[in-house]
Symmetry: D2
Subunit: 336 residues, 4 copies
């Protein structure tokens, strides 16, 4: 059994992760870590888990976490995450980090978008980006995996294969993204108050959302030229689910069928990406680790649409998929 | 023109009140009062009102409010409300109070349920309860009106006529109540966070909700015997709307048709109560000042069902209806 | 491997059943039966199942179903169900029936509430009611199990132990029930159209809902006296989840703590009933086979509250639990 | 008083229209027309209108409608609408048509997108497009007004001023549109069934939605060059509200502030368009006739965002605004 700890165990991604890990035959959850002073039982924090996991949350120092766990899932906010993780790695833990701290290669880009100095800049550029469909081989056996953001997961899975094959232009890409409210986390805020969100639809972070550099970094690699996507997220009055509608110029002469074929080929062996002919909805993948993707050509534009569950394929499911790869287990364990 | 001020102008009831008052031909809104230190423009607090009302919120002392307004609508929390209102009354303002402070007749009952000493106990028992369908004559010309709670409005309109006619038993009444989330106010709280409320349904305040003594006080008057209702509210994943399902023993020999007839007769002249034959839904009265009510007899029980918009008939619409009565205007002004 | 077929495979309960069966290590799904003429692929009917199950739906005669399957889950409407099931039983299949056809003991009660003659009256009164918490021993090895209705599941689990111990009165029980819209099935209807349901809350079937005799039949057994519950369902603007608020007279001298203790004792060994101290919400059990239950005493009334996922514990999860019992497998297989 | 009839009185736009007209001091509603054979009371079709309008729906021939009404609001489907309207016009009625039948100038474009021959091609190109902010003078006194589609209203109000001033490029415009479900009408359909829509987000009609030629026709006029927008609508799990996110290349040297200033100037006298600095949400304009619009510049793109209530400014409110102009009344009557 692999002993597993979770840092930041009170949030929604931690809850979903626990739901998955409780079904994982190779995992024993040994510590749930919180920075809160009181130490509630997990059932009081996550009522769905009552009678399924008998653990209290604990405010543990990294050294103690490392003593208890072989692998740590970090659900801490950016900045807070890297500081703890470098200690855990030094103590020989493996880490799958949900924060943005190890996703970007360039400390300057990080400090520009996150407004803090990176606490562990050495590891930037050396940490694998945990999107198995693109970086499976590097993830196998890794000691640290940077679990991708939810929007980047949906957008990159939609666009990377088409950029790689030169089927769409890397210039002028627009990503119009829509997410359920759980993506904004568990802390109550005025704009996330039920009567404000419900029957409401709002754009936010237009031109300023921190997932932008992450998307550009990965897409640039696959396009082999620097991209500068326009990324516009919107808050949708639903709990979970995410859809991105990506617009790009089609390369001369490429048909819709050719674009679909590129996607089908790229993902034909993938257990969790389904290239579909119809227009997918978020409910098709809700509570699953799937990403459904399709493409339409309208005039000179390719419209690439993908859907994920923001908490599963966009966070905790991806983390378990990475965990399985890190430990050489079947990649779909606990995910189907 | 009657000059009107609103205390506690940032909340949902204040917003709905402004929506109504802006359509009122006899009203000029002269002050929006808040206890917050900054003084935002009303359009930044209530975006729907942009370009319709050009006022900033202000942190004004009661004396200044009284100078500016003939009539004050108080949307302050209980306890805070009475202290200010007694000053306004002394300065010759008329007041329609949304708080619970002047609804109960007995200061002891008030302090038992609200856990504070009443700041103005003299006026308890002398203030009219602002339910026009029951207390129209006393409201006309009143200087202070205690605007009813939302649950009491729905429950009392359902039950009072039947109790008055002895058609149901005053003993063992159960009121199973369901409300949209706006009834819980505008302050973000963990249980009102969108991902917690959405796709969720929760009872709360079972046996302890503060609307209980208010319902009992009024029903006891109409039943001419002390009632002790069991009141169970539930939070429903919708923004607005309220439905109460009331259960009472039918008096011997009374049929469903007779009960319906009692309701029809009682409300036949009422502009805002509609006795219906079908089972009403909250959307039938959403964004209106109507209360739809019906009754079924099943076995020995009468099941009386009523629906209101918790922010309109349950708060701001009732307040405008009371205002119209106080000033001798047509009762439906600004409400149809 | 146990070969399994599903009748009526297009509905929501069939979809949830497939989600569970795909995780079941002892099950092979061999036929998905529909009465529709075309034969769509399961992925086109249930998009979440794409790439997870490669079967087409088929319009198969019972004899062919019996040839292909050891056990059949029947998700057909009442009336249609019994006709097919008697053939399957004759052909030596085991059957777990989601319809109401075998739940009632008395053909006269059946024809009164369902307005049809029962097509297989012989088996009424001899078929086990598939609520494992009450009838576990009779379910083991059964050839036919009548899977309970969703409302009866929630209501009976809340009330049966208290009636058994005489802690509440069997007379005058009120069950105020609230359900998400998926409980109404997959066929579009005017009142289930999104803009009608959303932001709306409606009672329906007051005094006439067909789950009433089913609840009374079981509760009467446990109370050892005939009950006549008043049952009032409400449609809640959410997809899934069900909550019942049950009101009954407390037996003289019984305290809230004593009632809680009766529930705790009754369910202490149960894997899927959690007696809780707090007021549970439907989201606590969403997408699980759990039933959370609690009780409050207010005045002379016990208020017993229970929550389930109407599609899991209220239908497909219960069916899998019954299946496990029928085949002597661990009862929680595929359910945790 | 102007006598008014409504054709197609059972739908959502008819209901919203009645809500507005009942507040209109110059209007008397004299006929509610339906093609259904039975003739229900309006209160049974639109429960919110009970006790406010005592009319039955009627299946009336155009001649009878013309006898009863000075002005007719047509809420019929495309194709069905023009046939009736030409009769009404011949009988000297004025008409405000909600259908698409008189919006397009070119019968060939009409038959390409609507797959029917236009029944009254003569009037195409001679009928005013009822967007008062762009065509106010032509609407005054018109006998026939083509009320715009909801998506075109939001998109054109966002883009036309910027195209007119050459501040954005007319080539390669992308309109990513999101609408609440009421925009799809009142007829139940599988994809509009509550459990399918709720917690779901789906694109539809990508590259094929019939509002596309309408948007292009108007934008081309204002751009003075033929546009070919890419228009991608999405169904959002809410009842009402619509947001469009429009992407266009910014003209060289134009700043975000300059674009905002163009919008502010263009709309400075408009009673129903509010140019805002913040990112607007649909709830800011829900149940109102307002359109809130803003713009951001990100890289080389202008992102123009506008929100409307699809049933008010996107349909019935616009119709009343047009009605007021046609009859020389104050444009905001019944709308504020």
């Amino acid at each position: 059994m692999i002993r597993v700890a979770i840092l930041g165990a009170t949030g929604y991604t931690a809850r979903e992760l626990l739901e998955l890990l409780l079904r994982h035959p190779e995992v024993e959850v040994t510590a749930l870590v919180t920075r809160q002073e009181d130490a509630p039982h997990v059932a009081d924090v996550h009522p769905t888990l009552r009678n399924r996991l008998d653990l209290r949350l604990e405010n543990l120092a990294p050294a103690e976490v490392a003593r208890r766990a072989d692998c740590v899932f970090g659900c801490l906010p950016h900045g807070a995450s890297a500081a703890v993780i470098s200690e855990l790695l030094a103590a020989d833990c493996r880490v799958i980090d949900f924060s943005a701290d190890y996703r970007l290669n360039d400390p300057q880009v990080y400090s520009k978008w996150y407004q803090v100095e990176h606490p562990d800049p050495e590891r930037l550029g050396k940490t694998v980006y945990g999107l198995p469909e693109l970086y499976r081989e590097q993830i196998r056996g890794a000691r640290l995996v940077a679990n991708p953001g939810c929007y980047p997961t949906a957008a990159i899975l939609a666009l990377a294969p088409l950029l790689k094959e030169g089927a769409i232009s890397p210039r002028g890409i627009v990503i119009d993204a829509k997410s359920g409210v759980s993506g904004a986390g568990r802390s109550p805020k005025p704009n996330l108050h039920f009567p404000e969100c419900h029957e409401n639809l709002t754009p936010y972070g237009v031109g300023t959302h921190r997932h932008t550099p992450e998307i550009d970094q990965i897409l640039s690699t696959w396009a082999q030229v620097k991209t500068e996507v326009v990324f516009t997220p919107h808050l949708i009055p639903m709990d979970r689910g995410e859809l991105v509608t990506c617009y790009a110029e089609v390369a001369a002469g490429k048909s819709q069928e050719q674009l679909l074929e590129i996607l089908r080929k790229f993902y034909q062996q993938e257990p969790f990406v389904r290239v579909v002919n119809h227009l997918p909805g978020t409910k098709d993948v809700a509570h699953t680790n799937f990403c459904d993707v399709t493409v339409r050509v309208v005039g000179s534009k390719a419209i690439v649409i993908s859907v994920i569950d923001n908490l599963i394929k966009g966070a905790s499911g991806a983390a378990v998929q990475n965990f399985n790869l890190v430990y050489g287990l079947s990649e779909t364990t606990a995910l189907l």
